[in-house]
């Protein structure tokens, strides 16, 4: 592991330990009350979900263009994180929606496109797991279609009449609410970097081991 890994892991742990206190001290939103505090974890996990899908798509495009295996490892790690952060987003969102909108789920463009992106990442991992030899190139092709969905997810709330809050909400938040939010975003970003680093290294190690097995057989 790189030298910065353990200090960063400790920092990440400290940030996640401190975040509930910051969230608890943030003021209550007037209409939604306590349940609005889900937003402090929901939005950062949604941003990491989109970031992971984007990283997976870009790494896959670079893998297809250059054939460098390192990019494939990055893409696979990012796809797994897309599934993880996507699940967090899709579970935390309805908890909030039940109180705010009176329903767990609506077929709204933002929610539908997020679910589709999450399903694409699951499909990517299923293909890699069950597609047999050479499936990494095929999965890279699938990842590009998953990435194409990311801008649509982001802009959907601004172009369609939807009940999901627009992207303009975040810059207008008062400091007392914005500070815990950006703190949580930083904590999730550090977690993303740690998990990516760990997973890419693990995949590189596995790849080296496979190469050694092949060399031994020959």
């Amino acid at each position: 592991m790189p030298k910065w890994f353990m200090p960063l892991a400790a920092l990440c742990g400290a940030m996640f330990a401190a975040s509930p206190f910051l969230i608890a001290n943030a003021p209550y939103e007037s209409t939604m009350g306590l349940v609005q505090k889900v937003f402090y974890y929901h939005m950062p996990s949604a941003w990491m979900f989109l970031l992971s899908a984007l990283v997976c798509g870009v790494a896959s495009a670079r893998y297809l263009a250059t054939g460098v295996v390192r990019h494939d490892h990055t893409a696979q790690a990012a796809a797994e994180l897309t599934v993880l952060f996507g699940l967090l987003t899709l579970v935390s969102g309805p908890l909030w929606a039940r109180r705010a909108w009176g329903t767990w789920w609506v077929w709204d463009p933002r929610l539908t496109s997020s679910l589709v992106a999450w399903m694409m990442s699951c499909a990517y991992l299923i293909l890699r797991r069950y597609g047999g030899p050479g499936s990494e190139r095929l999965a890279a092709g699938v990842a590009l279609f998953g990435m194409a969905n990311v801008p649509f997810i982001y802009i959907s709330v601004n172009y369609w009449r939807t009940i999901h809050p627009a992207t303009s909400v975040v810059p207008t938040l008062p400091v007392s609410m914005g500070l815990p939010l950006w703190f949580c975003v930083a904590a999730f970003l550090v977690l993303f970097v740690l998990l990516m680093t760990m997973r890419v290294r693990l995949e590189a190690g596995r790849s080296r081991l496979d190469a050694l097995h092949l060399a031994l057989d020959e």
Binding site: L64, A65, T112, S113, V116, M119, M120, C122, A123, I126, L127, Y130, G131, G132, G134, S135, R137, L138, A140, G141, V142, L144, F145, G146, A148, N149, F152
Partner: protein, 227 residues
């Protein structure tokens, strides 16, 4: 080396000739599509009345299911006869091979849709033929979007293990945006008061999906089929 258009034309002609001789994919796909529509009719139509808006959804769901079957069979035939390998070894642009296969599949699916529309109108009482030109444009652009992704995925899965299962697993999430736009666009054509602005919006969205999907597929086909 033959040009792009000439290669596309040759591949389409080859596919049409093979299909015309056996009629295997056309017959099986159309029979499957009709079976799907009848199954939906048995499940949903009560005392001669179907739920409102069901016809539009069933049309696109049937196109998706039958399209998956057609895509799978088209490339399975190529695999069994080793003709896809021959096509890829030929000194022609790979993108032309992709476009040739895409044109063949779109033609087949569009032909099937021409049969499905009156059948669904009849069984579900859906006024699908109220604006035939708009409906044809919506169906064609939606089919191109579906087939653009489907052709790429079916071609690249030819050598994959569990390809029969993997094709719908990969294809359905990717084409959900096309299906939503297709269903909403078709529903706008059957609404009691036709608003051409709404119909144009969904059609434009379908065109946008077509452009994105065909561009991505053209770029991806060469590297994923190169091994």
């Amino acid at each position: 080396m033959p040009g792009f258009v000439s290669t596309v034309r040759h591949i389409v002609r080859k596919d049409c000739t093979v299909e015309f001789r056996s009629r295997e994919i056309a017959y099986t796909t159309i029979f499957f599509a009709v079976s799907c529509v009848l199954t939906f009719a048995f499940a949903l139509v009560r005392e001669g009345r179907a739920p409102e808006g069901a016809g539009e959804g069933i049309l696109w769901a049937t196109v998706t299911f039958a399209g998956t079957l057609a895509l799978g069979r088209t490339f399975e035939r190529e695999r069994q006869a080793e003709t896809l390998r021959a096509l890829l070894l030929a000194p022609v642009p790979r993108s032309a091979v992709y476009v040739g296969k895409l044109v063949g599949i779109v033609t087949l699916l569009f032909g099937m849709e021409l049969l499905l529309v009156p059948l669904i109108s009849l069984l579900f009482g859906a006024p699908l033929l109220r604006h035939p030109i708009w409906l044809a444009a919506t169906l064609l652009s939606g089919t191109v979007g579906f087939a653009a992704v489907g052709t790429l995925f079916a071609a690249m899965l030819v050598r994959a293990r569990s390809r029969d299962v993997l094709l719908p697993v990969l294809l359905y999430p990717a084409v959900v945006p096309v299906l939503i736009a297709g269903v909403r666009g078709t529903s706008s054509l059957t609404a009691p008061e036709f608003d051409w602005l709404i119909a144009r919006f969904w059609l434009a969205l379908l065109f946008a999906f077509d452009i994105v999907f065909v561009t991505l597929a053209l770029w991806t086909f060469e590297p994923v089929m190169s091994d």
